[in-house]
């Protein structure tokens, strides 16, 4: 019996290797309303109609930051913050589903994750909250009560599990910079870098959650992430065609 299985690492089965995982940012896009969201949705629908398969994970944004702040004022633990914060991406995902319903948008909850093949094969666009389902079981990190695994991490982990074709974070900056370009005009653009180098640099403001970089280093399903500017027309189409627009962070 024991001869059949060995401890040696085998190749991981690729669950949905032809499907892209795309994140629509909360603060970067959803909170900007129609002006930002409509063009993004148009490009995504066009890509879908030309045969590109993807699932959408949605971010939280301002309301999530607000509830984290209120909860921290009341000394609530990290697990509670994770549960509270999780409500916001669900709101955003639901709204996006309403806007995409006519093009096949379907709301997909964690419990329905295994139905993705059904949704994809029938031509739907599965839309999910980007948040992982950790809730009360979210681990705290020292120094802050804010849950380390939020919507960037949740989206990345979905892509990792699926061995997705790629994972694209649609934000409101051209990609990764040496500092937050909104606060520091001298921040320089980084087209490509390694996750470990970024973590080692101890840069404070990174365009994706730190947890993503940690996971990327040990990932097997996906070996790079891409961050693009959803406020610039054409970037989404280019990225879904395989072009390395924006910034690429490799494992």
């Amino acid at each position: 019996m024991t001869q059949q299985f060995s401890n040696m690492q085998k190749d991981t089965h690729k669950v949905l290797p032809d499907v892209w995982v795309v994140k629509i940012g909360g603060q970067s896009l959803m909170d900007r309303g129609r002006a930002a969201v409509y063009p993004v949705l148009e490009e995504l629908v066009a890509a879908k109609n030309s045969g590109t398969q993807f699932i959408i994970g949605v971010g939280g944004g301002t309301r999530a930051r607000h509830v984290y702040a209120k909860a921290m004022e009341l000394d609530l633990p990290t697990g509670m913050l994770a549960k509270l914060g999780g409500a916001v991406p669900v709101q955003n995902a639901r709204m996006l589903q309403m806007l995409l319903a006519n093009d096949g948008g379907i709301m997909c909850y964690p419990d329905d994750f295994e139905k993705l093949p059904l949704y994809l094969r029938t031509g739907c666009i599965p839309i999910m909250s980007g948040m992982p389902p950790n809730e009360f079981w979210e681990k705290a990190e020292s120094g802050s009560r804010i849950p380390p695994n939020r919507t960037d991490a949740g989206v990345f982990l979905m892509a990792e599990f699926l061995s997705a074709k790629g994972v694209i974070f649609i934000k409101d900056e051209d990609g990764l910079y040496t500092d937050d370009p909104k606060k520091n005009p001298d921040a320089t653009f980084i087209k490509k870098c390694r996750a470990q180098d970024l973590l080692d640099s101890e840069q404070d403001d990174i365009v994706v959650e730190r947890a993503v970089l940690t996971y990327l280093r040990r990932a097997r399903g996906v070996r790079q992430i891409q961050v693009i500017n959803g406020l610039k027309p054409g970037q989404i189409t280019a990225a879904l065609s395989g072009e390395e627009v924006g910034s690429v962070i490799v494992a």
Binding site: M30, D31, G33, R34, V37, Y38, T62, R63, H66, V67, K70, A71, E73, L74, L76, M80, K83, L84, A87, V88, V90, Q91, R94, M95, M98, L99
Partner: protein, 238 residues
């Protein structure tokens, strides 16, 4: 359904978005009310995050019923925060799936904590005017109180109740201590600290006799209103 119970409706903006001091003050008073032998259900609204949801949603072109579907998320957050703070004293979340189990919680001395908004969701009727759903947490909690058979609903806001004009904008606003719901509707006041639809619904009710509106940011106001013989605030009678 449950005689003698009082529905306490905690304002989202007025209480849950306020300071920890205000929130802890309300938490303490709720426990005192329960300990004084009054069966109490606590409902809570959405506040700023519900408003933000409406703002973004309306900009996106989401229909009012779609806004109704998503705004409850903000209320659930406030409910969960309140239940967490009240949990050491016996609070439980109270969701519509457990509505008929209410006696189970109350007879054990628990404090059920629920969201305010009614679950019309995609079936929310078009609003009388504007883009936003008419049925919010004030309406929802009044309707729950009605079905449960509560005679009183206490709305915990951040003003001393009803005024002839918005007291935050007009220094000469006059306080209205007591008014019947039909008189209030006839006055057609431009601004109210409560949802207009709540006042319209109240007029047609059979169980709820009295809606009190108090300023929960002032210490002891809630306890005085529920347990005391006199209180600072307004009363709408049916």
């Amino acid at each position: 359904m449950v005689p003698g119970v009082i529905m306490v409706a905690i304002g989202g903006k007025s209480i849950m978005d306020a300071s920890p001091q205000v929130i802890h003050g309300i938490v303490d008073q709720i426990v005192q009310i329960r300990d004084a032998g009054v069966p109490v259900i606590v409902g809570v609204g959405g506040g700023e995050r519900a408003r933000h949801t409406f703002a973004v949603g309306a900009d996106l072109g989401i229909p009012p019923a779609g806004l109704a579907r998503v705004s409850g998320g903000a209320e659930e957050q406030n409910r969960d925060i309140l239940q967490f703070l009240l949990a050491p004293y016996g609070a439980v979340t109270f969701i519509k799936d457990h509505f008929q189990d209410l006696q189970l919680f109350l007879r054990e001395g628990m404090i059920p904590v629920c969201i305010g908004q009614p679950p019309y969701h995609f079936w929310e009727p078009p609003p009388e005017a504007g883009n936003l759903p008419d049925n919010g947490p004030d309406v929802g909690l009044l309707m729950m109180a009605e079905v449960i058979g509560a005679e009183r609903v206490v709305l915990v806001k951040d003003v001393d109740g009803l005024f002839s004009k918005d007291p935050k904008m007009c220094a000469d606003a006059q306080h209205i201590k007591k008014i019947s719901v039909s008189d209030l509707l006839n006055r057609n006041m431009p601004s109210l600290p409560v949802e207009k639809e709540m006042v319209r619904s109240f007029e047609k009710m059979l169980s709820v006799r009295e809606v009190n509106i108090i300023n929960g940011q002032v210490p002891d106001r809630l306890f005085e209103c529920v347990v005391g013989s006199e209180f600072v605030g307004s009363t709408i009678t049916r």
